[in-house]
Symmetry: none
Subunit: 216 residues, 4 copies
DNA sequence: ACCTTCGGGACATCCCGTTATT
DNA sequence: AATAACGGGATGTCCCGAAGGT
């Protein structure tokens, strides 16, 4: 069984510039980890409390119930992490398609074995909760669409810059990119083999290179 | 919350030629559904029992515990369904690449709203249980590798037949196809929008068409 | 089957000076009785709860599990009772050997039929749990050694006072006394006959009288 | 936890001259061991079955229920073992008191660590079941009285032979001997220290020697 | 004589929330 | 803002025994 430690994994490498987090933030972080480890339904409030030293009363002072805590984790933790890692870098990229490729390569190289084992926080929660709780689905979908939209924008821009061929639909390509990325992580999770991720990611990068205009 | 009914969805459309299932089979089928709906950890044995009319004593006669029941579901239900739907049709296909494309299209068209909402049984379980229970991971990985291997074989055969360009690696492509398929289903689950699946699947099919040799 | 009532038996005559016991104490007392009646393994938490009116949540707030509840019963209930009944009176006795004899006689006379039937709480638990759970064994052994040590001290003091013959080993004698006492209670339990206890206890007292120095 | 093996311990060293035991005997032996290990209430019929390879149907063909199986174990297994070990040797002893002493010494030397840990089958069952089930109590008491009676007879004979002083009551002494023996085993069980048994047993032997007439 | 299958209850555990108090 | 105590339901597990077949 996986131990909840303070390692510097890809998914919960601590965000910088946040001095002495208050109770609410402590709960949020611990909840994020617990949920990432065990899923939302199997996440235990008692575990979260014992890992933070916070009491149950304090928790229920800040969050009305477990579900709302889950919502807050999505909106305040996961959303930010996805933005920082996958969306922001694309926004003002000079060469969007190249930036995207490098982003994928960087992520692949940064993965630890634990990251592989646990998978993407967004994807995990979506897989588990989307069919069960509409509140989860809506919030997760919002992030998902944001991500995919940013990708579509980047590709469109790249097309306008003449960096990407024009006979592909940006929406379709971005949709496929996100799906393939999530699928790659899933493959890594099942096989627990980083080579599976690199193999699959390599396929994606090769595909993206096919989209580039052949410069001469 | 989704109700467990007897609808004819893609994932649990009843297999044919199995008259009057015995107790064990009844449990297995109900467990498959319950797990598909709620995930393994949240699956309730009591639900399974009440949906089958089987008693606890009977269940524990056939399976020593919940985990072993989960294993049996993987090995005896999920494995067969994946084989029937995605592997067998490829085995003796005359035109493997075309068969593969048609397979994807057929699956996309066959999906009901419920299927979209629930996602792929294999992918769901992998997402949830691979990091938590090695027994699950190994069994799921076996199916996953079988599937991917069958795809790689098909692509290699297509290359030998001159139907697919030779400058792609069959392993890499098959790995990416499986990942993208799983990712597409995930996207559909989050958005609960069949167009998302078609969009994403369309991207995959377009990609596969790129791999075909340009006949003249 | 024996009913759990509030009788004034030797073993659970309520300790004095403890007004309005709190929840934890109530659980502890009820657990002590239930364990004394049925043994630890067969002790039912539901019985304990129903006899106290306490709920499951409260019980598991105070004790992490049944085993720890058992440990607490040993350390906080049984230990005190043995001390009060068999150890403390010996500590500052002027004539230790005579005090010991009187102690045995008093205990014998105080026994009710129920006491005989249920036996010694310490001995029962030891018999049942020592081979099964090391935590039980260690805690029970601690009390046992305390008791035996107090007896050995008393005998040694008696020897120094010239009240007991010097050609016996205090350790050996005290070990035998404790064993014989426990054995007497066992005999009473099997025969459910108070005369058996008196017969056996009489033998012990006769033996102790043999150890006295013949004053002239 | 103690494993159920086939070791040659004092308590269940196999009785000789019993070729290829039938089903009933196999159940009886396995039940004896299981009960000795875990007590009667915690003894699991399923364990007994899995250790014998016998099925539940067969068990319930030979015994109407668990309680009757327990009775049979007492009457057919425990009774015989106590007789063989502690009663028969005394019956025709030329020097009863000396034989008794040697018997105690032999038993003490024969004990393995496992024997110490598990205690006397008779005493264990009595401690656990006498207050709970009258059927158990009666059957166990019968063996107990048989044993004690045999001891009383032996002492009486020794007195007639002039080997034991006349100013002790044979009944009382025999009662105390049995109690002390049981108590010694209990002490060994708690302390899990063979020296405790030897210390306590030494005290008993010393006491017995006091009863001898001083030959000159 | 013996086997498989099954019935149904009891048990320890854990969980999410609530309430009174400070 | 935070705490300790408590409520009460649901869960997986196990167990003894019954029933019907061979």
């Amino acid at each position: 069984m996986i131990e909840l430690n303070d390692s510097n994994s890809y998914w919960w490498r601590p965000l910088q510039g946040q001095p002495e987090p208050d109770t609410r933030a402590k709960i949020l972080n611990a909840a994020y980890r617990e949920i990432h480890l065990n899923g939302f339904q199997a996440a235990s409030l008692n575990n979260i409390l014992s890992h933070t030293g916070v009491t149950k009363g304090a928790l229920y002072h800040h969050f009305p119930n477990k579900t709302e805590l889950g919502y807050a984790v999505i909106e305040e933790v996961i959303a930010r992490r996805i933005s920082l890692s996958f969306i922001d870098p694309l926004l003002n990229a000079e060469n969007p398609i190249q930036t995207l490729i490098e982003l994928i390569q960087m992520a692949g190289n940064a993965f630890t074995l634990e990251d592989i084992s646990l998978g993407c926080p967004l994807g995990n929660l979506a897989q588990e909760m989307a069919p069960i709780d509409e509140g989860f689905r809506v919030r997760l979908n919002k992030i998902y669409q944001l991500w995919q939209g940013a990708l579509a924008d980047a590709i469109t821009r790249a097309q306008h810059q003449g960096l990407v061929i024009n006979d592909v639909d940006a929406q379709q390509v971005s949709s496929m990119i996100v799906a393939t990325l999530e699928g790659c992580l899933s493959a890594g999770k099942i096989s627990q083999d980083i080579n599976q991720i690199l193999l699959c990611g390599g396929g994606l990068i090769q595909y993206l290179n096919l989209l580039k205009t052949t410069e001469e």
